[in-house]
Structures are given as structure tokens and as C-alpha cells.
């Protein structure tokens, strides 16, 4: 399959049309969306209109942009003006935002075509997309299994060929884990790399937007378009990012690949075997493997499950039935708020709001939230020390391949363990990505995670591309 880079070049050169690319994906959606349920909304007519405009531009001799005619599946927690944006929650059902997220405006300006808004765990809280108020998404590799989450819809859409690329958000692994389970590339850039204006907030000190693609080069291309400073997001980093497409071909000769010797146990043997194969593949291409320790890695899950719910309980206070979304009528405002929130939020969202409210409440703040913030510092500092010895770190992305629906039962902690290897990077604010690296149990995809320090995306992409080359060369 030609890459997004090649197809955009063909649209710009007039050797293919945006309309043709869009119709191909709409046909793929038509054929298999009933089975997969990747989307909350498919934007058939809007996509056709935009494709026609891009083709007119190309015909006039104007440049439609670096993503001309390239289709995107957008996670349904990014605002699209006049188009429903639900976060897969009843509380926002029917809401049509009065503005576009910055990433949406940037993608439109680059010639990309949004084909739909994708399903997610409600408010991005979950690791399987089973928490959606509108029903789960199915894994295209095996529809009896979950696609991962929370950005399961975007991951499944790319894996099923519904769009050239997807956008997701990653607070504790919500891009990388579903990408691994669906066999695609997924990137969580450094905190502040991509503007979050118009991304509906879950945990503001952790959330970051990133792409799902079928190749490392396509991921670099998309990030080169959406990365950069935005005055509308005060946490976006005010500097120019180097072009990542230039890093992809640079090789890994001389790079130091870190193996975390005190990584929490718990990955399945098939996943461990692929990680070992990844170390071998990089060594064969001239990199050196070095042992490092990140002792606080093991506390990541505990710190995250206080910090993220605390921030979420505050961010989700805005859903009160006043300005948008659901309202359950009641005689006074306080009972209207409570009735609306009780009816509008699903179980996992309520659980996290409760946990976060408790951790922030008087008398418990220092014991829980305050302590979690100190653990966060330990994790950050331990990573920084490791990056003094290694250019990148390699870990499993997910402890297992895609699991069957209902496998995690009613125990919230069992589901949280899915993010053991992804969460610490969000707490540190560093970069991380997953690359498909062969298959494990049941022939299902396994991802290998490449982690790098703040704004070390160029090195991270060199390593990811080397892993991809090893797979293309049959490097099992």
C-alpha cells in the first residue's frame, strides 16, 4: 500500500485525485464499519465536499498542502465546528461545538480530509473502548477482541483501512496501547509538542495529541504538520520542531538503546520474546544495548491513579447541564447538576471523579494527591538519569496482545494494569511511541515501545524506523 506521503504527492501532482482517495476509504467503511464500529459519526458528505475543493485547488495549480487528499479518523474528543463531538458520553450527546480544535484547522489547511469521528472510552478513561456509551469498537484483527483504548476507534480505523491516519489523545497510554493491539504505529509526543486547544480535557498535565499510522514515515509527516506552538494553548512549547521526516532514514549506528533492568514484571512471554527480538534487530543495525535502572517506574500506576482522577474531577466539573449537552430538569440548580451528572456519566467516569474528588478533599490532599506529585518527581528524575546513559529506552507497549471482550471483568485495577509500561512516560512529560513488531499469541500484533526524553523525537523516530526496516526485511 502506498504511503500517505506518496499519495499526497500524487494528489499535488495531479496523478490521482483526493476524490478517488476519499471514495476508496468511504467504500472500505461501508463494507466493514458495521462489524468494527470504529466511528461515532462518519462524515460522508463533508469528506466528499472537501475532496472536491482540494481537487479544484490542484487543478488550478494551487498547492493543496502536504496532506492533500489524505484521510483522517479523528478521535471524538476533538472539537469540530458544527459536527457532533461526544467523548463517547451521554452527557455530550448531540452537542455540536462552535469552534474547531487547532489540530483540525491545521489538518484542513494541510489538505487532509476528516472522514469521521472515532469511538473512545468515555472521556478517554479506559484501555479497551468497552467504556463507550455508544458500544465498543472491535479489533479488526479479531473481532472477538478489544482494540485497546482509549483511542480504540482511531486505532481500529487505521488498521481496518478506513483512513490513512488517525489522531488520538494519550493521557496514560491511550494512543500507544491501542496502536500496539491493532498493529499500527502510534506516537505520544513530548508534552506540549502538539496544541491541545479544542481537545476536551481529561488530565491537563498529562494529555497529549498524536497520530496513528501504518508507517513510521507517515507518523513523522503528520507530526511535522500538527506539531508546533499555538498561542491558544499556553502549555504548547514555544519553539520550532525539527522536521521528523528527515530523521526517519538516518539509521541507528552508534545509538545507545537502554534496557530497563528493573522494569515491572508482568508482560506475557510472547511479548517479551518480541522485545528481545527488537534489541537484536537494533544491535544488528549498529546500535549498542546498555543496561539502565528506572526504580520509580514501578510506582507509575499508583501515582497516575491519583493524579489523573484528581485533574479529571476538576476538568469534568464543567458538565453541569448549563451550557451544553444533557440537562436533567430539577427544581433548583444543585439538584439539576447532580441529576444531570448522575444520568450523563458512565460508571468508570463516576468512579474516577469520586476518587479524584476524594484525593483533593480537605484532610486527604497531602496524604494522597500531594504524595503522588512527589512520586511523579521521582519518576521524572529516574528517567532523566537513565537518559544520561541511553538515547532511547525499549519496553513492551502492552503486557499482552489484544484480549477478549469482558476479559478484565469488573475489577478496575485489572484494566489499569494494561497501561503499566505507558503511564510513567506521561508523568515524566517525555516522548514515546509504539511500532508493530511481529505477532504473538493467536497471531495477534505485538508492539514495541520506544521511549525518549523531552523533545528527543528525532532520535526516537530513527529507532522506530530501524525496527520497521527490520520487520520489512523479515527480521523475526
Amino acid at each position: 500500500m502506498p504511503s500517505a506521503t506518496e499519495l499526497a504527492a500524487a494528489v499535488r501532482a495531479g496523478t490521482t485525485t483526493a476524490a478517488e482517495l476519499v471514495e476508496r476509504h468511504l467504500a472500505a467503511i461501508d463494507a466493514r464499519e458495521g462489524e468494527i464500529h470504529a466511528f461515532n459519526h462518519v462524515l460522508t458528505e463533508a469528506a466528499r465536499e472537501r475532496a472536491a475543493r482540494i481537487d479544484e485547488q490542484a487543478a488550478r495549480g494551487d498547492d493543496p498542502g502536504p496532506l492533500a487528499g489524505i484521510t483522517v479518523a479523528l478521535k471524538d474528543n476533538m472539537c469540530t465546528r458544527g459536527v457532533p463531538t461526544t467523548c463517547s458520553s451521554r452527557i455530550l450527546e448531540g452537542w455540536r461545538p462552535p469552534y474547531d480544535a487547532t489540530v483540525v484547522r491545521t489538518l484542513h489547511a494541510a489538505g487532509a480530509v476528516v472522514v469521521g469521528k472515532t469511538n473512545l472510552d468515555e472521556f478517554a478513561m479506559g484501555s479497551s473502548t468497552e467504556n463507550s456509551a455508544f458500544g465498543p469498537t472491535r479489533n479488526p484483527h479479531d473481532t472477538s477482541r478489544v482494540p485497546g483504548g482509549s483511542s480504540g476507534g482511531s486505532a481500529a480505523a487505521v488498521a481496518a483501512g478506513f483512513a490513512h491516519f488517525g489522531l488520538g489523545s494519550d493521557t496514560g497510554g491511550s494512543i500507544r496501547q491501542p496502536a500496539a493491539l491493532c498493529g499500527v504505529v502510534g506516537v505520544k509526543p513530548t508534552y506540549g509538542y502538539v496544541s491541545r486547544y479544542g481537545l476536551i480535557a481529561f488530565a491537563s498535565s498529562l494529555d497529549q495529541i498524536g497520530p496513528f499510522t501504518t508507517s513510521v514515515h507517515d507518523a513523522a509527516l503528520v507530526l511535522d504538520v500538527i506539531g508546533g506552538h499555538d498561542p491558544l494553548d499556553s502549555t504548547s512549547i514555544p519553539r520550532e520542531h525539527p522536521r521528523l521526516v528527515d530523521s526517519v532514514g538516518q539509521g541507528v549506528e552508534g545509538l545507545r538503546i537502554g534496557r530497563i533492568t528493573d522494569l515491572p514484571a508482568g508482560a506475557d512471554p510472547d511479548v517479551e520474546a518480541r522485545l528481545e527480538a527488537a534489541f537484536d534487530a537494533l544491535t544488528a543495525q549498529g546500535a549498542t544495548v546498555v543496561d539502565v535502572q528506572v526504580p520509580a517506574f514501578t510506582f507509575g500506576l499508583t501515582a497516575y491513579y491519583l493524579i489523573a482522577p484528581a485533574e479529571a474531577s476538576s476538568n469534568l466539573a464543567r458538565y453541569d447541564g448549563v451550557r451544553y449537552g444533557l440537562r436533567v430538569d430539577a427544581p433548583d440548580t444543585n439538584s439539576m447538576y447532580s441529576a444531570t451528572r448522575e444520568a450523563g456519566f458512565g460508571e468508570e467516569v463516576k468512579r474516577r471523579i469520586m476518587l479524584g474528588t476524594y484525593a483533593l478533599s480537605a484532610g486527604y490532599y497531602d496524604a494522597y494527591y500531594g504524595k503522588a506529585l512527589k512520586v511523579r518527581r521521582l519518576i521524572h528524575d529516574d528517567f532523566e538519569r537513565a537518559y544520561a546513559h541511553a538515547d532511547v529506552l525499549l519496553t513492551p507497549t502492552s503486557p499482552s496482545v489484544a484480549f477478549p471482550f469482558g476479559a478484565k471483568g469488573d475489577n478496575p485495577l485489572a484494566m489499569y494494569l494494561c497501561d503499566t509500561y505507558t503511564i510513567p512516560t506521561n508523568l515524566a512529560g517525555h516522548a514515546g511511541m509504539t511500532v508493530p513488531f511481529g505477532t504473538g499469541a493467536e497471531g495477534l500484533p505485538v508492539g514495541v515501545q520506544v521511549l525518549a526524553g523531552t523533545l528527543r523525537e528525532p532520535t526516537m523516530f530513527r529507532v522506530a524506523a530501524a525496527l520497521e526496516r527490520a520487520m520489512e526485511g523479515g527480521g523475526r
Binding site: 506540549g192 448549563v322 469520586m354 500531594g370 506529585l373 512527589k374
Partner: protein
């Protein structure tokens, strides 16, 4: 610190969070939250006295811009999405005079 939560604690938190939890929901939530907080015991063993809390990946600096009028959201478009609006404003139930 791993003292279990009482149903009364959870009721109080639900009120703070503006959630009308039902009786069975309250019971389930009490057990689940207690289980999650017990998980925190492994952090209690750490000596964190000399550690600075980390609230953000990067130090936040105040962001200023010139005091120039910028385009805002269209009022009618915003209010069209509100559950209830009247005279160019959001409409809500009474706030004063009904609280018990």
C-alpha cells in the same frame, strides 16, 4: 492511611462531586475506592520528605499577549447548543431561596 472508607465518607464525596449515586452504586463504589486506595500503600513506604512535588512537566510561565480585541465565539451559535437559553443568556433553575 489504608483505613477503609466508610459509606458516609463516600456519600460526602458524592455530594462534593455533584453525583446522585444510588444505594447500590454507593456500596459498589465504596468497596472499589477502598481497594484502589489500599494500592497506595506501596507509596507510603517511600521517604518523600526531601522531594519537591511535580505538578507539570515544564515550569509554567505566565503567557501574555497584547491587549487587542480578538474574534470570539458566536453568541447565537453557543446558545443554540445550550439546554435552555433566554434573552441571549443561559437559563437555569432558581439558585437562591430553595436551598434547604
Amino acid at each position: 492511611m489504608s483505613d477503609r472508607l466508610s459509606a458516609a465518607d463516600v456519600t460526602k464525596v458524592a455530594r462534593l462531586a455533584r453525583l446522585d449515586l444510588g444505594a447500590d452504586e454507593l456500596e459498589r463504589m465504596t468497596a472499589q475506592l477502598a481497594g484502589m486506595l489500599e494500592h497506595f500503600a506501596d507509596v507510603d513506604a517511600l521517604d518523600l520528605s526531601a522531594v519537591e512535588p511535580m505538578t507539570q512537566p515544564f515550569p509554567l510561565v505566565n503567557v501574555m499577549r497584547p491587549d487587542v480585541v480578538q474574534p470570539g465565539l458566536d453568541r447565537d451559535e453557543v446558545l443554540a447548543m445550550a439546554p435552555a437559553a433566554e434573552d441571549g443568556r443561559f437559563r437555569v433553575p432558581p439558585i437562591v431561596g430553595l436551598e434547604g
